[in-house]
Subunit: 407 residues, 2 copies
């Protein structure tokens, strides 16, 4: 199967490309290195010293005997994208090539507009390219569980049967996204569903939870293949960031009460879910949605787990509750369904002590690369201009349980 | 009340600006004349010979003694927009300044991307400008009934109470828009709701039905104030287009069976609804939705009404069923609520014989300006490249009742 991975140099895209290649698929990656650029913009870097894409690809070919072709360019450039599709003839396009950080989209107007334009135009281009170049190609698109927000009812996988005034219909699940980034994914979802209907495109929208971990079976074979590990407030996801904080003796930064509950998954399950979607394509014209996560945790629960793991390492790990820079409920009902990928054969890697040990271990190994000034939240949802160099709002932590949010 | 009308030179924006001015509000308009430009692009023109904006405004001041200030520029230019907001200090921003034609958005990829970028960025800019310049300003935003699509349940006004697995919540009504244009309005709605939540903006989203008519009380006072009357397949809405077709002896072009049912309203009700929204603002932080239409009709019903009116004028009006260029259900359940504006005092102008007479009269008066080649649909939802100059698909009409759509 020819699988084209858009955003194949990124945190999820890179391990996905390796996994699919290892599994015998013919893989090519597309990337414009935006993610590496944003590190420069933010003065941040991945905890792990990742190599350049050519170096990574050479190492993979040396180790596995399998070549992954790279196309360098931007999916918002339609000519580039159609040239790639014409040359590679993908059976599946896996689309990770979006700006993926909520805080980045909330920095200011320019970042909000960039995020929505970049993500929406990129996905529109992919849809047009499939229709025009490779109409039977299956689009596997990364959405986010954040599209749903935190409704007071169970979250279904994409659609909900609604009975109303004696009639009923199966309708898209209502969306209540919580940042300009999450909104961009909601826009994508609506655009994709429409194109499936009018053009007979087949698409799988993977509403992914928060990913943790950094190592997969392929990546651990050689240091040159090492994956990103982001710990900064903008791109670092909760569990990874907590592990980096624990490693250097910084308090774990929990926003507000920490009762915010989300779906999480191991990066080894991300790559497997992608393959399961590829191997089990929907029919032409079908738009389907899978909720891609394996367990629910509150942010405070995660922090407490990292605290316990830290003790084993002899680390003194404290938890500090900061004013929540996001506008979100800090205590809410949350029960999201996630059976469709399990039905296709996913065997989840549940969050374990050994995984936490491994993550803290990695963080300790690279602790010299940690810039602690990047831990504290500087992007406040309530401001339209967040100067990330000097925002005094979050300089002082508050005590746990204190009511800090106006939500 | 200072009311800034974005898109104040357009089909709905112009009569709205006049009405609000007549009612004693301090009105300014913003326009970049996109709508006039698209006429040039499409080789089309309004049936009525509209005057330039400066000429219109001079005539209005001469007649009414009231000045309407004009700001010429593009709302996607943030500097321009914030300069206007700083100078005019609006209490309300009425936002019509979007690309509003579904067929225009379906011409090709460039038009799809343009429509979504133009509309989404414009609205994001308006939201940021309100937050940064005039935070208590009320945003009155034009949405569309087309955001809902045609679900098999009653359509509520923006939100629906869902009971599911023993729990319940009031959630955004699921959206199933039917074109890249309608999708852009859905994207806007999600963006607006979010900004109300995080920034305390007050907003009214008016999900407007299909507007018919061209004359309001203000406009009929002087020929110089004459409003647009679009009859082409791209910008001409169903009833107006049928009247122009009847006037010149062209068959009424009904797409498919004509069972497509939508909400409609008289342009005199559009302007009144806008004022009702302005006079009754929501609380800070509230995002509310009104369904702005007064009656439901199927497209075939409208055609039959125009046919009957034509007979009175001695016109021989036939109805032809063309293959539906859109991907839509031609026969479906449709029952949309629309009580909130009536509760605020709207007294609807229901579609009457006299209104139909007046519309056909106007069409007859300007029949020399009709270009009949603009009647036939050339933008097919199923194609990604619609050459509007020569599309043979719709050259030949089919007989009524024939199954012509694959929907």
């Amino acid at each position: 199967m020819n699988i084209l991975v858009l955003g194949g140099d990124g945190y999820c895209g890179w391990p996905t490309a390796l996994y699919l290649s290892q599994r015998g698929h013919n893989v090519a990656v597309v990337d414009n290195f935006s993610r590496r650029l944003w590190d420069h913009e933010l003065g941040a870097q991945t905890l792990t010293p990742i190599r350049s894409l050519p170096e990574r690809l050479r190492a993979w070919e040396r180790l596995s005997g399998k070549a992954i072709k790279a196309f360098v360019g931007d999916v918002t450039n339609y000519t580039f994208l159609t040239d790639v599709a014409t040359e590679f003839e993908p059976d599946v396009i896996v689309h990770f090539a979006e700006q993926r950080a909520a805080p980045y989209s909330m920095i200011d107007r320019e970042h909000a507009v960039f995020t929505q334009m970049n993500n929406v135009v990129g996905t529109l281009n992919v849809l047009f390219a499939i229709k025009e170049i490779q109409p039977s190609c299956h689009l596997v698109k990364l959405g986010t569980m954040g599209e749903y927000g935190t409704p007071n009812i169970d979250i279904e996988e994409g659609f909900i049967r609604i009975v109303h005034n004696g009639r009923e219909d199966l309708l898209p699940f209502p969306k209540q996204p919580g940042s300009f980034y999450h909104l961009s994914k909601v826009h994508d979802s609506h655009n994709i569903a429409f194109c499936c209907k009018i053009w007979g495109i087949r698409a799988t929208d993977l509403n992914q939870g928060v990913v943790y971990g950094t190592v997969t079976h392929e990546i651990e074979q050689d240091e040159t293949l090492i994956n990103r590990f982001d710990y900064d407030e903008v791109f670092g996801t909760a569990l990874n960031r907590f592990c980096a904080q624990a490693a250097v003796g910084h308090p774990l930064t929990v926003y507000g009460k920490g009762g915010q509950t989300r779906g999480f998954l191991d990066i080894r399950d991300t790559v497997r879910c992608i393959e399961l979607a590829c191997l089990n394509p929907p029919a032409r014209g079908e738009y389907r949605v899978f909720n891609q996560f394996t367990e629910q945790f509150s942010v405070l629960q995660l922090a407490q787990m990292v605290q316990a793991t830290g003790k084993k390492f002899g680390l003194n790990v404290s938890i500090e509750h900061l004013p929540d820079p996001r506008v979100e409920a800090e205590d809410h009902y949350y029960n999201a369904k996630h059976t469709k990928l399990v039905d296709l054969g996913l065997e989840p890697h549940l969050l374990s002590e050994s995984l936490l040990d491994s993550l803290v271990n990695i963080a300790v190994r690279y602790q010299d690369r940690v810039d602690q000034s990047l831990f504290l939240p500087r992007v406040d949802w309530r401001n339209t201009r967040n100067d990330r160099k000097s925002n005094p709002t979050y300089a002082k932590a508050t005590t746990a349980g204190e009511r800090v949010s106006a939500d």
